[in-house]
């Protein structure tokens, strides 16, 4: 069964994102090197790694904000780098991205931010839009904040409103760019639990970029570890967690002693 733009629903465990030999450089700096993996539908996949190892660059490739130098990136059956502008916009209607710092439009209030994609891509009546906004704000634990200005919100609240916006169109793939960076431990736990709750309630595909190891073990079904642009390890949570790779042991053990160098 496909929608009007030819996008079909993906069954659990089907590869919804396929990455093949993805490479990207900025000048002489190689940020992604021959990255290959399949991201499975209905699961939470977390990409971990030290700062500056290409995690955010990878997520920007998935949503088509960056074009790779080489390689293929299939998202819901579309090869993202080859899509024309109009086709890319069609694909993006099926993706939700919660930005690292929220990226909320500060000239709009919370309601206008969260309803932004609904207003532009659906013919929903105002009442239904209001109901949907209230629903997703409730889901992220911020009910009744519709009329607040985004500048009145704390960092954690901004992130959650960003997440509500990403969820408002009910997309099959939701991406999080470092959802807990810069938050205090309590808020980190709140966000981790929120992602877990959403996974349980919505059954969507979640792709998370993070360097929060504890949070990763809690929420991830699959884990990928990036280091210096290379996907060092990719597999099920337990396999990666208990792997004996010297890089992974250093990273998970949070120690300076080892082959990994902080960036």
């Amino acid at each position: 069964m496909t929608d009007t733009n030819g996008f079909r629903a993906y069954e659990k465990d089907e590869p919804i994102v396929q990455v093949r030999n993805l490479s990207k450089s900025f000048g002489s700096l190689r940020v992604l090197k021959d990255m290959t993996c399949d991201i499975l539908a209905g699961h939470t996949t977390v990409f971990l790694g030290p700062s500056g190892t290409g995690k955010s660059v990878f997520i920007k490739h998935i949503v088509g904000l960056l074009k790779p130098d080489a390689g293929e990136l299939m998202v819901m059956g579309r090869n993202v780098p080859t899509l024309k502008e109009g086709e890319l916009y069609q694909l993006r209607k099926h993706l939700g991205l919660a930005f690292q710092l929220g990226a909320l439009f500060d000239s709009l209030n919370v309601f206008d931010n969260v309803s932004f994609p609904l207003v532009h891509h659906t013919n929903m009546r105002r009442k239904n839009v209001e109901a949907r906004v209230a629903e997703v704000l409730e889901l992220v634990g911020l009910p009744g904040t519709e009329h607040k200005l985004t500048t009145e919100l704390s960092t954690g609240e901004q992130k959650r409103v960003g997440l509500a916006r990403a969820l408002s169109m009910n997309p099959p793939i939701v991406l999080f760019d470092e959802p807990t960076t810069g938050l205090d431990p309590i808020l980190c736990t709140t966000i981790d639990e929120l992602i877990l709750k959403l996974k349980t309630e919505l059954g969507r595909t979640f792709i998370v970029i993070s360097h929060d190891i504890e949070g990763t073990w809690k929420m991830a079904d699959y884990v990928g570890v990036l280091y210096q642009g290379k996907l060092l390890k990719y597999g099920k949570n337990e396999d990666v967690r208990h792997g004996d790779d010297i890089f992974l042991k250093q990273f998970f053990g949070r120690t300076e002693n080892g082959p990994m160098i902080g960036v």
């Binding site: 904000l65 993006r92 930005f99 990226a103 439009f105 994609p117 532009h120 916006r165």
Partner: protein
């Protein structure tokens, strides 16, 4: 010497590539404007932001320039014993040259810098990326409404500014310089035609295109960080003012080319 030539070459090369980039930016804006229905709400917001919010500053500056024009004209004509003709000076200087130029400069300074800073901040705070990811074309949402709004609003501000300048120039000539009010009014009416106002609006329209192209381009292509926003805004205003002066000269040459003065 060789280094100086090299540096100049690099400077010219950089400038030409930037002109090319602005050209492509404008072409993309036009293509989006022609292929999608405009966002009327955003257009109305921008008309308000550019028009109403620039009105006070345009008129205030215009009022003082109108008064200065009367004083300078009177002093110049007094030497020739023709101070009663100050109305001619005021009419020609304001409607043909100063009205459109001052309105454009003030809109560039007020609305243009605001556009550049707003878009640049959105770029730096990933809000433009967020818009793209939500499948809303930033050209459609951010750039096209500003293009359309300024092209509608600036010619109107030019006319408004013309009347302010004429009014204040007239008042100074009559009340302070004690020139016969009938003579000033008659000279103004004889000198200015509706054609002059139309040409002023054409000037405003063309200058609007340059203001919005430069300011939105500079904001959209802003470099990262607060420094990037500052640089984008600063460059937008400096480039705008410099280019407006040059373009205004060519517009005056095209629209009047000395014929208007000979016809006096």
């Amino acid at each position: 010497m060789l280094r100086v030539v090299e540096a100049m070459g690099r400077g010219v090369g950089g400038m030409l590539s930037e002109v090319g980039a602005i050209g492509l930016f404008v072409i993309k804006t036009i293509s989006v404007a022609l292929t999608t229905l405009p966002n009327l709400r955003r257009f109305a917001d921008e008309c308000y932001s550019i028009g109403i919010q620039s009105l006070f500053v345009v008129c205030s500056v215009g009022a003082f320039i109108g008064m200065s024009t009367a004083l300078v004209g009177f002093a110049t004509l007094q030497d020739l014993g023709a101070q009663n003709l100050v109305g001619i000076f005021i009419g020609i200087a304001t409607v043909r040259e100063l009205g459109p130029a001052v309105a454009a400069f003030m809109v560039a300074a007020k609305a243009g810098s605001g556009m550049a800073a707003h878009i640049a901040t959105m770029r730096v705070k990933e809000q433009i990326d967020a818009m793209e990811v939500q499948a809303v074309n930033p050209f459609w949402y951010l750039i096209v409404p500003r293009f359309l709004a300024i092209m509608v609003v600036l010619p109107i501000l030019v006319i408004w500014n013309d009347f302010f300048m004429l009014g204040t120039g007239y008042l100074i000539a009559v009340l302070q310089l004690k020139v016969n009010r009938g003579a000033v009014m008659q000279n103004l009416l004889d000198t200015i035609s509706t054609d002059d106002f139309t040409k002023g609006m054409i000037k405003g329209w063309v200058l609007a295109v340059f203001i919005v192209s430069i300011c939105t381009y500079k904001g959209y292509t802003c470099e990262p960080g607060a420094l990037g926003v500052g640089k984008a805004t600063n460059q937008a205003v400096v480039y705008c003012i410099a280019i407006l002066i040059i373009i205004n000269f060519f517009l005056s040459e095209w629209l009047y080319g000395g014929i208007g003065l000979r016809g006096m």
